[in-house]
Symmetry: C2
Subunit: 762 residues, 2 copies
């Protein structure tokens, strides 16, 4: 008891000293009537805290991953210091010299600031100060950026978005050297650089700032973070709640076709409210979540430190931390994010924003040891309090594997606007998208899916049509093929009716609709099912898609079963593509290949597809096998009489070679009202060019058959090459966990509880 | 001295004991008048020796890489033993069940035999015996294999080649259990299985056996190895020198279009003489050398052990061991062999034949420590005397990196039939082929090249059109597109004249010709040059190609300079393709893309190319940049007025999707007699989809200019973006190392010694 008492006393003394110290500092700095009366005026206080810096300094040399990160950053910044400061007059689009330089500077400033705090070496503070003063000198007379393409032009960059990125990072640098600067210097910077900078991206650019969008999140965070450093309540309020008393035209659109501000909501809190579902799914998908994540978390960290009373990490039932878990689960076995909506392939949890996310989630969340294994893979940590926590966790051998399981993530602010279901078994991952539109970055791909094996695509989602930051490719921005191809329905593994896209590819309509979960079941690890319905994409047509990943002892690997039930009030043409990658191995049908390649259609994405082969189905099942990266895959699909089979290849009407020349097999069914597309995809065997041995290169399925298809039930019989038949029955109406079903097939009664059953036929 | 004396005495006693032991064994086994009177009748004596087995047993548990290999093999064979023996009646082509099973059995037998020797566990010997007896039972009444496609049908397999593979392995197994078997058992096996088996692949199949070809090498080794075990001098002679007194029709051809036996040579020694150049280059290229390597080396090992008087490893100045060094140098940074001629991409020094090659080269060669680093990467060793030597070398930390340098490998039995030059600097590798035809697996690709960066293709050689051992793709055999596309000149990075292939793609002509080295220089590491001449591919047209890899301080990475000088007696159309991989980034010319894709031509490979874009040159230089696997590349080529530029894509007239849909940029120059194609290829910068940053994405070359082009000299000025100009001058006639040259350009005298000079212009 005595010891504890002593400790408390000591703590109180320390606190007292701090308070005095803090007050002294405050006395120095509060020279402006905009300043609040908050007592938390110590610096640093955003991502680093005074106590955190002490702790870090005490542990240095004893926390390997932190020490290594520090060493790398120090070498990087020392080299930059040696190279000298450059702040060129803004001129270029993304990828161009001035763009790249200013982008680089913001990172360098942030890192130099942190180095000053951790290493207590004034050369870093001086470097930050010198560069900031150069910016101050330039900025005070800087006009709008000369490039005119953006709906919201910045000053340092061609768009406000990049200016906001800059301020989010530079706020941290400023925080780190705040106490190093004289009051006069701070006034100069705040008056001529930071305040007008924050105003430009907010008050002067409401079409950018005043909305719910990842762009605005950056804007909000930028204004808020500089507000926290400057202790400027007005800016902090503007960050949290948007520009006061401003209403925008709710019908105006941005460059990407999204509404500027449909419902008038704005500010950081609205940007947490709206795009995140209660499960933490971000409506634009993981690629943009990754991008938005950094300002969400780094500003939240700052708010947590400066305004703990806001309880930002508990906001909306802790959605910010939940969203990190959702995001990590939206990555494949290699850590690459599933390229839903406008997603650039290859973006992964190795991105620096995810270092922030993982470290913050660990530190401010529940110290999930799985996060430590990802941090270990990332091989670096934040150079701040949360990075220290992670480094200590790893050092103390607390890391465990991050176990990605099957997961259903609801979409929409209240979790009622569809979602994304991920089914995982062994190395197979199925990503089934039945979400809402996904804001302006959404694709018209209701009930679409992609399939992965060990991080390699089996059936791909195309992703976006853009070479982000490669200036030679359309300035590194969205290419027109993003709209004409990547967003169109036919670019996805789902149903296209009458060669038109869902919602006629109209954002106004798409953004008002979403698919609906029918059921999701991952309790039985061997048979996991996700089922969802879409009734608005094509008015008069209902689509119910039920997808299962089945682990059957008679199959080498888990296989996918796909049942797309279509009910329409009129006859239509249905196109049902499979975007495979790799080399054709075999088919069970004869096909013709044309000598000249023509396009499949003239619009809605069809103008980008060449027809490389055509066939008519003859057998009850259409079979197709292919080889990709040393693995065999087989599609078996139930044929209708007169189904057409098309081999297509992307790349037509692509005058700047913006599209990848990748293939699909497509089933086309004409003049049909109600119908059923039933398919399996098997991953099997392997081929090694080193041993030149082909193992298990054939499908294990002998027959796929529809045995029942009523309004209430669909039953599929899957017979393998050994003649063993299994029956999969899904309930098309009441699929609740509690519902009991009985269905008689060939005089046998099948009884089960819940949405589906999978049984051997005796 | 006393100690040494003692050692000698001990050794003599041991030798005496062995001799007695050996004689006893001989007394037991020599029961047949075909047996020779050689004294080396101990078993094992092929890849294992009695002494070797003793040494291995003594070291077991103490030689990690050997122990690990042994463990893996033991687990593998134990599982096979548990699964039971299967020797199905032969029925299938490559990839089919019976083919795969018998192929598997030969490996399993060999390994089980070795395990018996090393572990001294009779269960392995019994397993080998039981399986051999099943083969004996089947073979004695076995007809020709039912599949008829081969020019030389086997019995276990559809072609004698595979039967020979089988006997090469199974001889080793028989050797290992020789002493375990009773004389009666041995007689049964030899009389009903081994002797008729050896006769079938030789005497009964002279069109397969009696020639210089990799197939025959297998046949020779098979007959020779079983001969060594059976101590059958007749078989050994047949192996070494071919079938006695047999002459074949010199004009007949095999399945691949190669002559069966043009000059009457045959037997193992002829198969060493002919295909290997004195530098160890194998005329069919590395892919087939890898395949042929195993029988060459394993039979040589057996000969070395049983008939040391033959000095097989010294034969033709040690060419067998030299060839291993050549082969390792014919691999890229990842160990993948350059796909010259009919080569399947991805084959690498991780193939088991290369484990044999590396271990034997180390053991019987000069214990090059570089080989130990490759063995370490292979992560396994032979379970024999040479594997023991390697394992001990690694254990004793003798391994050093295998340093691949620039190398010129002559082709032809006497090294006078052209060759292959490899220029390496940092991560860039240029493979320049100016060789002879390459036997029946050769391509019509005189003066062609491919270019690599760190094991990734910058400009590719297509390789073969075949899916080796994938039964669904034409039985796993050569596809017709191998002849119609892969072998044709237009499929390669070289000059095609008037849309015809070199030598009109006629093997009879191609095989009588070869290109000629002009000069090769790798002394100056910064400027390495290979230059060669071809005068026969197109009668009346001479091509002199000079290729350099230049490391210039003003460039990020070494770049390639390519000067193709063409002199003809008439006007022609010249097509000059660049088979790049990846995405188009930018061009300095305007191009049109057609809406429907048509073929570029109707024959000679042109029928397989679609035209995806067309342009006319307007600038003095044509520039083109692309992005592949996160790296940028740029081509700069000197334009003539009215050069056409074509974007092509492989895949037309490919009715079974056998070809990869890959691209090229092609320069077409019409109605031209003499001309010069001058190009640079730069590798530069990088792009990461994780950081989304594009670094150094532009070419560093401002201008490429021909300043002199006479019969004697060609001079190229390369001006970089900073305006610095360097001059590369190559001597087109006398390029000897000693020759001194002086050339006046713009009143400046340039003087140098040797084939070329590279200097800054002041």
């Amino acid at each position: 008891m005595k010891i504890r008492h002593n400790t408390i006393v000591k703590f109180a003394i320390v606190a007292l000293v701090f308070t005095i110290f803090s007050c002294e500092k405050e006395a120095e700095t509060v020279s402006d009537n905009k300043k609040s009366t908050s007592t938390s005026q110590q610096h640093p206080n955003l991502i680093l805290t005074v106590q955190g810096v002490k702790d870090i300094r005490a542990q240095l040399g004893n926390i390997p991953i932190f020490d290594n990160t520090l060493k790398v950053v120090q070498e990087e910044i020392d080299a930059e210091i040696a190279a000298g400061i450059e702040t060129p007059i803004p001129k270029d689009y993304s990828g161009g010299y001035t763009h790249v330089r200013h982008k680089r500077n913001m990172i360098v400033l942030q890192k130099a600031g942190v180095l000053y705090q951790i290493l207590d070496d004034e050369k870093y503070a001086k470097y930050v100060k010198d560069m900031l003063m150069q910016y101050e000198e330039m900025y005070k007379t800087l006009p709008l950026h000369p490039k005119t393409r953006s709906y919201a032009r910045g000053k340092l960059f061609w768009q406000c978005l990049n200016d906001s990125n800059w301020l989010v990072y530079v706020s941290q640098a400023y925080d780190c050297i705040y106490n190093y600067l004289s009051e006069e210097e701070r006034n100069k910077l705040e008056t001529n650089l930071f305040r007008p900078f924050a105003d430009h991206i907010s008050i002067d650019s409401p079409q950018f700032y005043q909305r719910v969008h990842n762009h605005s999140t950056w804007g909000n965070a930028a204004v808020g973070m500089i507000g926290l450093v400057m202790n400027d309540e007005e800016l902090i309020d503007r960050a949290l709640y948007g520009i006061k008393d401003l209403k925008l035209d709710t019908k105006e659109k941005d460059d990407d076709g999204g509404f500027l501000n449909k419902d008038g909501k704005a500010g950081f809190l609205a940007n947490i409210e709206e795009p995140f579902s209660p499960d933490g799914y971000y409506n634009e998908g993981p690629y943009y979540q990754r991008y938005a994540m950094y300002p969400f978390l780094v500003f939240a960290e700052g708010l947590h430190n400066v305004k703990p009373e806001l309880k930002i990490f508990e906001y909306k039932e802790g959605v910010l931390l939940k969203s990190i878990n959702a995001l990590l689960n939206l990555s494949d076995a290699d850590g690459d994010f599933f390229p839903l909506n406008d997603g650039q392939k290859g973006m992964s949890y190795y991105n620096s924003a995810l270092v922030t996310a993982v470290d913050i989630s660990y530190h401010f969340g529940e110290q999930d040891p799985g996060l430590l294994s990802i941090a270990t893979a990332q091989d670096r940590v934040l150079l701040d309090d949360s990075g220290l926590a992670v480094a200590l966790g790893i050092k103390n051998r607390k890391a465990k594997p991050f176990d990605k399981k099957s997961i259903n993530l609801s979409d929409g602010p209240n979790g009622t606007q569809g979602g994304v279901g991920i089914l995982r078994n062994e190395d197979i991952e199925l990503v089934f998208k039945y979400a809402a539109q996904g804001s302006s970055h959404g694709h018209y791909d209701k009930l679409s899916y992609s399939l992965f094996e060990k991080g390699e695509e089996i059936l791909q989602d195309y992703g976006l049509a853009r070479f982000v930051n490669i200036e030679q490719k359309g300035g590194g921005n969205y290419l027109k093929e993003n709209k004409t191809w990547a967003k169109q329905t036919i670019a996805h593994n789902t149903l296209t009716q009458n060669e038109t896209s869902h919602f006629n590819a109209k954002y106004e309509i798409g953004s008002q609709n979403h698919s609906v979960l029918h059921y999701f079941s991952s309790e039985n690890e061997n048979v996991q099912v996700a089922s969802a319905k879409e009734v608005n994409a094509y008015p008069g047509t209902e689509m119910l898609r039920t997808m299962a990943i089945i682990k059957d002892e008679d199959f080498e690997k888990p296989y996918m079963l796909d049942i797309m039930k279509v009910v329409s009030n009129k006859a239509n043409q249905y196109d049902f593509p499979y975007y495979f990658l790799g080399q054709v191995v075999t088919t069970n049908f004869e096909y013709k290949t044309p000598e000249t390649l023509k396009t499949l259609g003239s619009k809605n994405g069809y103008q980008h597809l060449y027809v490389e082969g055509t066939a008519k189905t003859t057998a009850d099942n259409t079979k197709f096998s292919w080889l990709n990266k040393g693995k065999f895959y087989s599609l078996t699909t139930v044929s209708n009489t007169n189904d057409e089979i098309l081999f297509t290849r992307i790349g037509a009407n692509d005058p700047a070679f913006n599209l990848r020349r990748e293939a699909a097999l497509m089933v086309r069914r004409k003049n049909t009202k109600n119908t059923l597309f039933v398919s399996t995809i098997e991953a099997h065997g392997s081929y090694s060019p080193v041993s030149e041995s082909a193992v298990n290169s054939n499908s294990s399925i002998k027959e796929l058959k529809v045995v029942v298809n009523t309004e209430d039930y669909t039953a599929i019989a899957i017979t393998n090459v050994n003649g063993i038949t299994k029956l999969f029955i899904t309930a098309n109406k009441d699929a609740s966990k509690e519902a009991t079903h009985t269905l008689k097939i060939n005089d046998v009664n099948y009884t089960w509880k819940g949405g589906f059953t999978f049984q051997k036929i005796n």
